[in-house]
């Protein structure tokens, strides 16, 4: 059954259709949420919040085939709000220093380059980090990321450009400590 059919059934009050959509996208949403926040715990909370919001506002989704980008849009908005409000972005350096096991997604990283990229990514503001996650992890083209985030393609390109520049700087710095990320746009 297509997403469109499932959304239509949900809009008619069929919660089994929601169960199907949940099963289909729970891991996608959870992984994106964990990568944006850098924490399994926060990722779980945000995934919950996004699915609950989607159920509550399913009536406003006109094109059911766009359920996945709509879900991710809801998720990223919630993530931004969450990051700004509670400042939950634990500095990556702390993960290494304290051995914070539960949230340390980076524990699996083997090479120095990947660890420095990870640190650099989490020094970025949440909007640039989200673009990196959708582009490099979710393999979405710029046009689709723009639709998902509700911004123009130019904004996505601009965020990608400045994020890449920041990552490059992080990789070339001997100490591996990225400079403070710019937070605008």
């Amino acid at each position: 059954m297509t997403d469109e059919e499932l959304v239509r059934r949900m809009q008619q009050g069929d919660m089994q259709a929601f169960d199907e959509l949940y099963a289909r996208y729970k891991n996608d949403a959870y992984r994106v949420a964990c990568l944006i926040t850098g924490s399994r715990a926060d990722g779980e909370d945000l995934t919950q919040e996004a699915f609950v919001t989607c159920v509550q506002s399913i009536g406003s989704l006109r094109d059911g085939s766009k359920f996945r980008p709509w879900l991710l849009r809801t998720l990223t908005r919630a993530a931004w709000k969450y990051c700004r409000k509670s400042k939950r972005e634990t500095p990556v350096a702390e993960f290494f220093e304290t051995g914070e096991g539960e949230s340390a997604l980076s524990a699996v990283l083997r090479t120095d380059e990947q660890r420095r990229l990870y640190q650099a990514m989490y020094a970025l503001d949440e909007k640039r980090r989200t673009v990196l996650v959708l582009y490099y992890f979710d393999n979405r083209p710029v046009k689709e990321i723009a639709r998902t985030l509700g911004v123009t393609e130019g904004t996505v390109k601009s965020r990608l450009f400045s994020a890449r520049r920041h990552l490059r700087q992080a990789l070339t710095e001997k100490e591996g400590k990225p400079e403070e990320a710019v937070t605008h746009g």
Binding site: A29, R31, G43, Q56, Q114, Y136, F137
Partner: protein
């Protein structure tokens, strides 16, 4: 590092971080629970997965035989993510502020030691799900060799039924302390699995407990000791006693009462 290599490393880094990340089974239960309760996305985190059942369970015990005419059909308990402390002095300060007069200890003589403290908010709802009121209590987890017991202290509520005819009762000082080892079941909150007629009847007689909050039907035995002192209701409970006997529970109650 050239641009292409950096992009490859970036992709690989993110995919490595996401390796093995799968939405936990408890997440769907949490979502269903939030939707059933008006979509409030209470933040019950992983360490609370079991707590959700345990706390709901305590609430269900408390309302068995609720005062007729009170209108309260059930108590719905939730624990806030951002209201917990690993530091005992922080927890103690919170207790003094929000549940004044509540007693607690940092450790018990049997070796169970304070691990974490949480705020616990309980909403009172009528049959239609309307919230009639709420109250706040505190939960203190104590651990010993990986085993855990929880101390719950909250203000006494008029409609609450805090004892059962099946309790073992002893007196500590001037306080009546009730011990029970009660069998129970936890069911999904969406109503997809219902208790049998026999279980429902046993629940109404106060013989078993029925709680909601799991993803499938689960059976357990709930061990607790409870008492009321100065308008505060206390209970110390666990579902995994790990060798704790009835006498041990009474001794832990004594240590709180005499603290």
């Amino acid at each position: 590092m050239d641009e292409m290599k950096m992009e490859r490393e970036m992709k690989e880094m993110l995919h490595r971080c996401a390796e093995g990340l799968e939405a936990p089974d408890t997440l769907k239960t949490r979502i269903d629970f939030a939707l059933k309760n008006g979509g409030q996305t209470r933040k019950v985190r992983r360490p609370f997965a079991k707590r959700l059942a345990a706390v709901a369970l305590v609430a269900a015990v408390a309302v068995t035989g609720a005062v007729a005419g009170s209108g309260v059909k059930g108590w719905y308990s939730s624990t806030w993510l951002d209201q917990n402390w690993k530091d005992f002095s922080q927890t103690a300060a919170y207790v003094q502020e929000h549940v004044p007069g509540a007693k607690y200890v940092e450790s018990f003589s049997n070796g169970y030691t304070f691990d974490k403290g949480y705020e616990d908010t309980v909403a009172k709802r009528d049959e239609s799900g309307n919230t009639l009121g709420s109250f706040t209590g505190i939960l203190l987890d104590y651990e010993k060799d990986g085993a855990q017991v929880t101390l719950d202290a909250s203000p006494v509520q008029e409609e609450g039924q805090y004892t059962s005819p099946y309790d073992t009762v002893r007196t500590v000082g001037e306080t009546e302390v009730h011990y029970r080892a009660m069998k129970g079941i936890t069911l999904p909150p969406d109503g997809s699995i219902q208790p049998t007629a026999e279980e429902q009847a046993a629940f109404e007689r106060g013989e078993i407990n029925i709680a909601y909050g799991s993803s499938a039907r689960e059976e357990y035995t709930f061990y607790s000791v409870s008492w009321i002192e100065n308008d505060i209701s206390y209970s110390i409970y666990t579902m995994e006693p790990c060798g704790l006997t009835e006498d041990d529970f009474f001794q832990m109650a004594r240590e709180i009462i005499e603290s």
